[in-house]
């Protein structure tokens, strides 16, 4: 029996501007785009990790107005949990994402606990950290 992570949900304020960030800037590919009740669920993945996709949806999708409002406030305040990606060239990825106009939280640095990493805000306020993949 095996178990593996398949979907990771990321709440965003605007699906299209987030596709520009996670797709065009970060380099993931759109795998699926599902619409229901006026809301969209878009998944993106990477050939480097087939079978794992992030799912983008807006705060009010599938939630009550009050719950959607609460989630949207936390999202915009920037206090939701972060997502961490890894790149085989974190400095090159940093330059690409920065060139897209994304908000830089941290330039690439060698952390005292080991990895070299950098961090951005996605267009909605989520923290996205990108770590250097260990040499193969």
């Amino acid at each position: 029996m095996t178990i593996a992570l398949q979907y990771c949900h990321i709440t965003v304020n605007d699906v299209d501007e987030s596709i520009a960030f996670y797709g065009d800037a970060l380099g993931l590919q759109v795998r699926n785009d599902v619409a229901s009740d006026g809301f969209r669920w878009v998944t993106l993945g990477s050939d480097a990790q087939p079978g794992l996709e992030i799912v983008l949806s807006v705060p009010h999708a599938g939630r009550s107005q009050a719950d959607g409002d609460a989630l949207q406030e936390l999202l915009t305040k920037g206090v939701l949990p972060m997502t961490v990606f890894r790149s085989d060239d974190v400095d090159a990825t940093f330059e690409t994402v920065r060139a897209s106009g994304a908000e830089v939280l941290q330039e690439p640095i060698d952390q005292s606990w080991g990895p070299r990493d950098c961090a951005f805000r996605d267009p909605s306020g989520n923290t996205v950290r990108i770590a250097q993949a260990p040499a193969a």
């Binding site: 304020n13 409002d69 949207q72 406030e73 915009t76 305040k77 920037g78 908000e103 939280l105 941290q106 952390q111 005292s112 606990w113 805000r121 306020g125 950290r129």
Partner: protein, 146 residues
């Protein structure tokens, strides 16, 4: 929330990111307010409403949290104070004691096994001192205990 309210919240977030990023520099409220595109007085009110503490208090909490990490690593109290952008050892120490509940010297000499066991990026958020615990769950617990 209206688009305007969301926009303002995003501006406040950018000011908070500035504090988290530039805490070691001589930041003051007018500089932070400029990042949020607000007047200092309005910014302070809105920031406090959003994050539960004033901008200056948030800056000091961040500095103390970073100083705690340095003290755990064995850095001297004076160096830890200067590293995080505090210029007065006296006010650093009293703020530290107020937030942490221990003097910097005493904190430095304690064992920190639990923190050492966490990945440092987790410790960074988990050890962030909370001045006025604003969690509703916490309030419920305290209410039940009272």
């Amino acid at each position: 929330m209206t688009p305007q309210e969301l926009e303002n919240l995003a501006h406040l977030r950018r000011a908070r990111d500035l504090i988290d990023r530039e805490y070691a520099k001589p930041l003051d409220v007018p500089i932070m307010a400029r990042r949020a595109l607000m007047s200092p007085a309005h910014f302070s009110r809105r920031f406090r409403a959003a994050y539960g503490e004033t901008p200056y208090s948030s800056l000091m909490t961040r500095r103390i949290e970073r100083a705690m990490a340095s003290l755990r690593a064995g850095v001297s109290v004076t160096d830890a104070c200067m590293e995080v952008g505090c210029t007065s050892l006296g006010s650093f120490s009293s703020r530290f004691a107020e937030i942490v509940g221990d003097t910097p010297t005493a904190y430095r000499s304690h064992e920190h096994d639990a923190v050492k066991a966490m990945p440092a990026c987790v410790a960074k958020t988990q050890t962030r001192p909370v001045r006025n615990a604003s969690s509703r769950i916490g309030e419920a617990t305290r209410g039940a205990a009272a």
